[in-house]
Symmetry: C2
Subunit: 140 residues, 2 copies
Amino acid sequence: MENKNYNTVQKQKILEMLKANSHHHLNADEMLFILNAKQLNVSRATLYRYLDVLVQTGEVRKYIFAEGEKACYQYIEDKNHCSSHFHLMCTECGKLIHLDCGKVAELINHIEEEHNFMVDPGRVVIYGICSDCKKEINNA
Amino acid sequence: MENKNYNTVQKQKILEMLKANSHHHLNADEMLFILNAKQLNVSRATLYRYLDVLVQTGEVRKYIFAEGEKACYQYIEDKNHCSSHFHLMCTECGKLIHLDCGKVAELINHIEEEHNFMVDPGRVVIYGICSDCKKEINNA
DNA sequence: TTGCGTGCAAAGGTTTTGCATGGCA
DNA sequence: TGCCATGCAAAACCTTTGCACGCAA
């Protein structure tokens, strides 16, 4: 790794904030808002710079959705583990569900064997609506 | 649909160009370059405006990849059909493969029944490397 | 003391928008 | 003729970068 990784308050707080929100994705504005609310001002530049590092090391995943086009970031609990399965992303609430399931492995195998296509599971996101949001929509 | 859809040369040429390149995705610059090469100057604004319409009607799909972050567009042959299956996207050459396969339907059913998550198949893209590019990489 | 990390402001690149003009129906 | 579509340029937007200063080790 090329960075000498000095330990600074900013980095600590950014990482802490990401871990506390590992259940959903955040964009830069949202992150700065959260940090601000905690009386810690981090500059936008520093945030982006550190996010880049975290994405490179695999600790954080970066998403870009066609609608918003604003980059969203999310802390990945177990980076090695998370490259081997698919993710379900709720387009309503942003919740990320780890789909660690034999059926996925089955489909990946099928695609690689029968369709001769090498899948990169870590990048695959299955969009849809989670059970909680489905309830809310039905109740509305 | 809210647009009265006047027929103009620009729209015709844009759609024609998209259809001719339906096997892969293009970004705005590439499209303008192609149009230019054919001696038809379309303004960037017009291109973006029409692309928006096409995306809304489902004739064109918009992709944003985390790396490039530049929006890519691709004509969808059969928009109704394409909302019911997954797509394989080669990250090397941009080829889009329609994965119309029982295994996909199986996984979708499984996710909806067992994981209680309503999948939106039209938005799902499985990234990886296609057989042609795999060969090239191996030969290199 | 060394040199990485930070903050600020400016730049960068893509996409969107306002406005006057042009062209389809 | 009415009004949508176009082109231009400017604006908007998110993100990156240059530079000087501050701070970790």
